[in-house]
Symmetry: C2
Subunit: 413 residues, 2 copies
């Protein structure tokens, strides 16, 4: 008997037929003798609808009430699944974030999980109850409802798996696993059997929409084995797990892209100590995450500073930076939302040199201008004009030998 | 300075423009120097949509998860109104049932309020906060989310007004007040300036859709003055208050009808002591309210027993009664959902005789067969074939002189 956490995304619970399919899958796992905790997202489109309502109500709706509104989608789906499971004769119980409880900090719209009390869940599981937990939401120490940010249901699932020391956390989604790149962009894309936490982390944070970054961080920290698989068929998925020797042999595991960032440049900043801190502190205080940062060499005591934020935060971020820029006597602030970040990821990069320069070569050959570069142990990212996204992905996928014809055939067969 | 509770129904918050109008009205009341607690329903249609989803999930979805699902509509509207009020520069805070807390029993889908802790609300109000409370929902002692049944937001509003000893509870709705009868059925219908708690109670429980019964019971018990008025204009509404001498002079204040009941007859029940108890106990245990009960004179040790339940409970009630009927050796059970209950209501009936017989005369003159009769101190109700509903209402309205031409003119002007 194993304890399995199963998470189903928005498309998997998009209508009643699909919810009933989820119920069948959950029931099958339970009937095979496992303890099952289900974590659900809202029906696909519902969170967007709720976010839209909030933005109709206010230009900057983020705050306590925003989370209250956008957390209702999961409340509906967990209730419906529990009703279906009971109808099928199972003992099922839905739990909201504050009923678990899943305690978070008070950073609305992007709260972080601080603790999960697994005691009540364990008692219920031992009584043969299938638990159905709302993803994406928590409660802060004051009793305010919080949400974890987009894709937060993955984090809920992995965090619950960690808290309960589950044997496996299955993430059911609308794709069959983690691919070498987006199959919609590159026909040669191939499903990976296994991927390391670190690789997945880079892929998740770089825009592969399969798993939310924080869920992978959680999985890595608590060594939760995560299986990404399709909710529409029984095909084997991709196991996200600890790195092993086999993985290190592969130099590049995947190519990712992210069109959801925007670039902000602060021009001719006086090059004094503490300037960067002054520039970024207000952004942090406003809860805006800065991703890549590039600072050019200082010329005549002035420097240019460029960084990226999510498109969602672009307008707000630009406004904040403009205020700070005038205080620190920078010359100008310019923004550009028409960018994409293209990245190559692979655990093998640690032991292989020259991967970055190969990437730049490939891009140059296609006439793609690189605007920003950032690297880590296992990835290289370039910001380019958004119009080159698909081209860059395809040529890099080919150049690093990620498409294997026999596997592609199998996929098409 | 007064403390005012303002409740807005589903049509009043049906879209963002309307929510913004509600915000303006709330802000005006607050700016006039009052403390304001707002209670909201879900957007019109939303609760029906959620109930529909639950019924797609199961034939009998009522239970813990049903309430979880259908309580989300109010969560959305209170969040949105609070966001709009904050955008307007006011200090606003939304509160869910469990955040107030509004503690109820555990009778899902029709929970009763047991206590409301007004302490936290008073503290917030004294800090100049406009509170926006979710109607319709509460929390049971185990932390399960409960709902109060259709129209429960009225009850929430009045109960909060009682808990806070508010000076006035305003119920904003899509009609301008309480009418002598449904204006959609009878053009001559006239708005009442004032109506007593008892009259309103009869009207509410008899089908006038203006206020939920329990909200009037609460108002009567705690003597909360309730003003029913339109959220779309500033016309004076109807004040529901304690009975006074003026009210007693009016024999009949209003005619109501209710098409939302169904009739169940148990035929040839052995006439033994305890049979009625045996018949009704399982219904009570299933949470089904029985309204009118008629038992015919016993013939050869057998009797016929007829009663009404809400249409919603009809199928379930019929099933339960069929089981009991075979146990107590009744001959047959027949049901009829095509009925309507027509009632005349008036505080003046207490001191005037012959009102009932006048009602029966009027019905007979029109050839309307009366299937069941039930009376109280201030009302007489008849069950008739549903097809006679509108005719019965109009002839009774006329017969008891409720339409006054001068008032009708004013209304049309």
């Amino acid at each position: 008997m194993a304890l399995i956490v199963q998470k189903f995304g928005g498309t998997s619970v998009g209508n009643m037929d699909r919810i009933k399919n989820v119920a069948k899958r959950v029931a099958r796992t339970f009937s095979e003798g496992n303890e099952v905790v289900v974590v659900l997202s809202a029906m696909s489109g519902e969170t967007n609808r709720l976010v839209g309502l909030c933005h109709e109500a206010s230009e900057f709706p983020i705050g306590r009430e925003y989370d209250l509104v956008i957390s209702t989608g999961e409340q509906v789906t967990i209730g419906l699944l529990a009703i279906v499971l009971k109808e099928m004769g199972y003992n099922a119980k839905s739990l909201l974030g504050h009923q678990v409880p899943i305690v978070t900090d008070s950073q609305f719209a992007s709260a972080r999980i601080e603790s999960i009390d697994g005691q009540k869940m364990k008692e219920e599981l031992s009584k043969g109850t299938i638990l159905v937990v709302a993803g994406f939401q928590g409660v802060d120490p004051l009793g305010n409802i919080t949400t974890l940010g987009r894709g937060g249901s993955d984090t809920t699932a992995v965090a619950i798996a960690a808290a309960l020391k589950a044997d496996l956390c299955e993430i059911y989604t609308d794709v069959e696993g983690v691919y070498t790149t987006d199959p919609n962009v590159c026909q040669e894309a191939r499903k990976l059997e296994r991927v390391s936490y670190d690789e997945m982390l880079e892929m998740a944070s770089l825009g592969a929409k399969v798993l939310q970054t924080r869920s992978v961080e959680f999985a890595k920290k608590y060594e939760v084995p995560v299986m990404v698989r399709s909710s529409f068929n029984d095909a084997a998925g991709t196991l996200v797990c600890k790195e092993d020797e086999e993985m290190e042999k592969v130099v590049v595991s995947g190519i990712t892209y992210n069109k959801n960032e925007a670039k902000i440049s602060v021009l001719r900043v006086p090059d004094r100590p503490g300037i960067a801190a002054k520039l970024f502190r207000p952004l942090t205080e406003a809860g805006i995450n800065v991703d890549m940062i590039v600072q050019n060499i200082s010329q005549d005591a002035h420097t240019d500073l460029t960084f990226t934020v999510s498109k969602e935060d672009f307008k707000r971020g630009l406004k904040i930076v403009q205020e700070t820029a005038s205080q620190i006597e920078a010359k100008d602030v310019v923004g550009d939302p028409n960018i994409a970040k293209i990245s190559i990821v692979g655990a093998g990069m640690r032991s292989h040199a020259g991967v970055a320069s190969q990437m730049f070569d490939v891009m140059a050959r296609e006439g793609i201008n690189i605007q920003m570069i950032s690297t880590s142990e296992i990835k290289v990212s370039c910001v380019v004009d958004v119009k080159y996204t698909e081209l860059a992905v395809r040529v890099l996928h080919e150049a690093f030998g990620l498409g294997k014809s026999e596997v592609v055939e199998e996929k098409q067969g």
